[in-house]
């Protein structure tokens, strides 16, 4: 950005020319030490030899990736057949994160729309209310969720007392509980970007559409949604990505009977396995996967914009 402005040759940017290197320093430090260095370290570790009970031996090895893609039987001495275990775990996580994202979108979009259409002076209050539960630690919120959802918990008590159901709904330790937990954990990440987008939306466009006999649905689908699309996409990414790697909700609400990507990786560092290179390799594969998904997204966005322009 800075370089682009400078080549434009505007006089104001020259004021900062001398100090530019220093002014950009914080950004470089953040990128280098908080973003690139840990990833580089993970990449290196994924190609090292595992040390028994945690740690690495500094010898190059493909073993971690071999373990991910090759099924060599219970005793590890058979030929390589394709390993479905970890693929299944990845697929399950993607599916759960996707469902949680859709759930967040379904609830988050109307919420954001609601807030953005309130009078200007009360909007900050609504945003404030949305964030209140998130002042509490995620672990505590997830445990509370477990207590709310359980068979003999308040939710079931309430539903039975109003006569909506006869026997308790079995929610805890199911996939749905995990999705509910993820949805609850990351909802504000969906609401806030969409709110920001809807707030900037010029509502006279909707009125114009209505004047031209567009139905309410058409106005929403063809006028409002395209205008706030960047906010929706940002919200979806912000919910999907952390959901993908989360392990608290699957462990506590899903019963931890099946590994998710997050718990699989955690087990490599904190569990009995103590297999750091494999944990690093699984993280690298996850990272690449997310990167590919985002790149495809970005390309399609660019294409769509080109087509419109």
């Amino acid at each position: 950005m800075a370089a682009g402005a400078a080549s434009g040759g505007s006089a104001t940017t020259d004021t900062y020319k001398e100090a530019r290197t220093w002014l950009l320093m914080p950004a470089w430090v953040v990128l280098l030490f908080l973003s690139l260095a840990p990833v580089a370290m993970m990449l290196i570790y994924s190609f090292l030899t595992k040390e028994f009970r945690g740690g690495v031996i500094w010898e190059f090895s493909f073993a971690a990736y071999d373990q991910f893609f090759c099924d060599r039987g219970l005793f590890g001495d058979e030929g390589c057949t394709f390993e479905w275990t970890y693929m299944t775990i990845f697929w399950r996580s993607i599916w759960q994160a996707g469902a949680a994202t859709l759930l967040s979108l379904a609830i988050g979009f109307p919420t954001a729309y609601f807030i953005a259409t309130r009078p200007e002076n009360v909007r900050p209050l609504w945003v404030f209310l949305i964030t209140i539960p998130y002042w509490v630690n995620l672990l505590i919120r997830t445990v509370s969720m477990k207590f709310l959802l359980r068979d003999k918990g308040p939710l079931n008590d309430f539903l039975m007392s109003i006569g909506l159901i006869d026997s308790p709904l079995h929610i805890i330790n199911t996939n749905f509980a995990v999705q509910l937990g993820l949805f609850y954990s990351y909802l504000p990440f969906m609401v806030l970007p969409i709110y920001a987008a809807v707030e900037r939306y010029n509502f006279s466009l909707s009125e114009a559409a209505a004047d031209l006999y567009a139905s309410k649905f058409t106005t929403l689908w063809r006028i409002l949604l395209p205008a706030v699309k960047p906010g929706v996409i940002a919200g979806c990414i912000l919910v999907f990505v952390p959901s993908l790697g989360s392990f608290l909700a699957p462990d506590l609400l899903g019963g931890a009977k099946n590994f998710m990507i997050g718990s699989l990786i955690e087990e490599q560092f904190k569990g009995n396995a103590g297999n750091w290179p494999f944990g690093a390799a699984a993280s690298m594969i996850l990272l690449s996967l997310v990167l590919v998904i985002l790149l495809i997204f970005a390309r399609q966005q660019a294409k769509a914009e080109k087509a419109e322009g």
Partner: protein
Amino acid sequence: MKTMLKTTATGMALALTATAATAEGELVVYHWFEYMPQELLDKFTAETGIKVTMDTYDSNEAMLASLKAGALGTYDVAVPGDYMVSILAGEGLLDTIAEGELVNKGNIAPEWADPSFDPGRASSIPYQWGSTSFMVDTAVYGGDIDTTDILFNPPAELSGKINMLDSQGEVLAMAALHLGMEQCSTDREKLKSMNAMLQEAKGHWASFNSDTAKEVLVSGDAAVGQIYDGFGAKARSERASLKYAFPTQGYVVWMDNVVLLRDAPNRINALKFMDFLLEPENIAAVSNYARYASGVSGTADHLDPELATLPESNPSAEAGAGVFIEVCDEATQAVYDQIWTNLKK
């Protein structure tokens, strides 16, 4: 991993404060969560003037990972379980206590003075010991509970209502007892049958959870739950129909130990703390709080009288033997890791 990074970060922060303060008055303890009463730490500080900082972990393996990731040199003492003491020693993470350095070493109960996991108590002192078995809600099931079938081949009333500890060591040791095989087996047929048995048993389980092992039983979400005896005693006090089982096939015994870590920044204070915990009155305070037994002689006068008759710490005559979790070699462990992954995939 999140916890690991967090603990490492706290460790680093602690290291800074530890060096900033005078080495005289500090002690940094790395301990299990919800275990040592704060009053006891306050008493230690009052007696010695040493300020205690405590950092907690939730599993032996998490502690090992944190120490190996660079927290060594931060903490003075840690409280690993039996098998973890030998692992820490094997990894070179422990310091040796020389003869005569501990004034109260003679207080150690004779049966715990020379355990297999730390011969001669070279680096550790006993802290608390107990068993890991499971509890059954007798209001749900009235039959015989003293069998591992309850976990691995349960009657219809209990199927789908079982919570297992989310811990490879505890689950696989119990499975070995159920099948009557040794813990670090290299017999391929036996290992295969264990793998198959667990796949089958998993269909009967509701969840794997260690952190809320007690709560799921108390709330009635689970009718069977793997649990430590002390937690079991606490659970029973909140839900009287819960009963702790001592299976005829055997059960897991564990002992937590206070170890002196290598590169302890306050080695002398660490030894003072160990001596403090070898005083019968002090260690009894831990037992009274945590509901476990200590490995120190002469605590009887200081113990809550109820502890002597706790059903959770007094196995019936028909109970099988209590066994420690064993430490397998790398090749054998790899197979058990695979069985665990198969179980949770």
